[in-house]
């Protein structure tokens, strides 16, 4: 190029140029294309091979595909180049209540949940609970219409650090804990329950 450099390009400089070139190129380059960047003709392949050896085992490597050369991150590191970001989300009151009813009354149909909550349970609420991985449908109830019944999953127990469903505090245990202030004493389990 324009430079009034000594008559001969050192192999070291040539190698550095090729390294920088492979790094900066937006598309993989052929040997001929690489040669065109060198200020004087030099065998390109040995330079590429030497670089390839240099980078072996590093976080990036020199790759050749169909006669074109490029720098690429090492394939085994691919999983580290994506960061998992957990966006904490809280459940709505409706979802929490539905989850609680499923936990205590399982297996339970949607109609039964609605009867307890006194309001309609939207399809979306159940879908959301399925998304959390804490709730799943299981079988159908042998009543007219054969409605789907809902149960909790092992992930539910896991999240709440419960060994089994029996570990869920019973209502009698809760009334004293201030959690059930709204509940008058006695008759906590109303109606249905087949």
């Amino acid at each position: 190029m324009t430079d009034a450099e000594g008559p001969s390009l050192s192999t070291d400089t040539a190698q550095r140029i090729v390294e920088a070139l492979l790094f900066a190129t937006p598309v993989p380059l052929t040997e001929a294309e690489i040669l065109a960047y060198l200020p004087e003709p030099l065998p390109v392949l040995p330079l590429l091979r030497a670089l390839q050896t240099d980078y072996a085992g590093r976080g990036v490597q020199i790759e050749e595909h169909g006669g074109r050369w490029a720098v690429r991150t090492a394939p085994d590191l691919g999983r580290y180049l994506q960061r998992l970001q957990i966006k904490p989300k809280t459940l709505s009151q409706a979802a929490l209540e539905t989850l609680a009813i499923i936990a205590y009354r399982q297996p339970v149909t949607r109609a039964e949940i609605e009867q307890i909550r006194g309001v309609t349970v939207s399809r979306g609420t159940l879908d959301l609970l399925v998304d959390t991985g804490w709730v799943r449908p299981r079988g159908r109830k042998a009543v007219p219409g054969r409605p789907v019944t809902w149960v909790t999953t092992p992930a539910f127990l896991d999240h709440f650090d419960l060994q089994s469903l029996d570990d869920l505090p019973r209502l009698e245990e809760l009334t004293g804990a201030g959690l059930f202030d709204a509940l008058a004493a006695g008759s906590d389990e109303p109606d249905e329950k087949d």
Partner: protein, 261 residues
């Protein structure tokens, strides 16, 4: 002007602001003054302010003669410089005024130095190995991915509280509204008859009902039913009603007659 006039070597600048009318490529009076000062080919601190002022004014005269559209800035500066020149030339009437003139000249020199310094900074910055020119970034970066996943969180107490809330609501839905207590008209009429028989004189309607019908939660209903009952008894000629004026108490008295219904 001489052939070394700054007019012959415009400084390249095109400020985007349309309000500034570029004068022969100068971005403003200070820019022009700096170019003129450089003509003196001395250290900026040793620039002759008088010479500079002369040159500036001469430049403007030439520009005006050529009917260049001068921005107001140039003329304001010209006026200021003419004032400065007069202060520098004429013997100052007092010491402070002489010092003020020198301070003004000094300030001008410093402003020129400052602009020159910044331009030196521009040159030096441009000489740095710039990104995308001397230094290149990765041509095809693989990119880094951020995978956002929704992580639902809740706690056992929250869950239990929710259960409690739903059960509590289930209970409250079974509440029955108590039917409001009222005094039926026939009860009021019988009560009224009873009182009027016992007491033959005028009675305020409020007092004419039996005490048991005058309890607080029945008062409004008793008043309404009592009034209706009194009207009914008057219609049947069993009682007569009297009122002094509108909104005053209503009095009721038995006529002594009794019609069997």
């Amino acid at each position: 002007m001489s052939d070394s006039s700054p007019l012959s070597e415009p400084l390249a600048e095109s400020d985007e602001d349309a309000l500034i009318v570029a004068v022969e490529g100068f971005s403003g009076p200070l820019d022009l003054l700096l170019a003129l000062a450089r003509k003196q080919k001395v250290d900026l601190t040793k620039v002759s302010i008088l010479t500079l002022v002369e040159q500036y004014l001469a430049f403007l005269d030439a520009a005006l003669a050529r009917r260049l559209d001068l921005a107001a800035d140039y003329l304001v500066t010209a006026a200021w410089l003419a004032y400065l020149k007069s202060r520098l030339l004429l013997p100052a009437p007092s010491e402070p005024e002489a010092e003020e003139a020198l301070a003004l000249a000094e300030a001008l020199t410093q402003r020129l130095q400052r602009l020159e310094a910044i331009r030196g900074g521009v040159v030096q910055l441009q000489a740095r190995p710039r990104l995308g020119v001397e230094r290149l970034a990765r041509g095809a970066p693989e990119g880094l991915a951020v995978n956002t996943v929704d992580g639902f969180t809740t706690t056992l107490p929250e869950l239990l509280r929710a259960y409690g809330a739903s059960l509590a609501r289930a209970k409250s839905t079974k509440l029955r509204m108590a039917r409001p207590e009222v005094v039926p008209i026939d009860v009021a009429r019988d009560g009224l008859r009873e009182r009027l028989q016992a007491q033959r004189d005028w009675l305020a309607l409020e007092d004419a009902l039996p005490a048991r019908l005058r309890s607080a939660n029945l008062a409004r209903s008793a008043k309404a039913s009592g009034f209706a009952a009194a009207l009914e008894l008057a219609r049947m000629d069993e009682a007569e009603l009297r009122q002094e004026a509108a909104f005053t108490p209503l009095y009721v008295r038995s006529t002594g007659r009794r019609r069997e219904t």
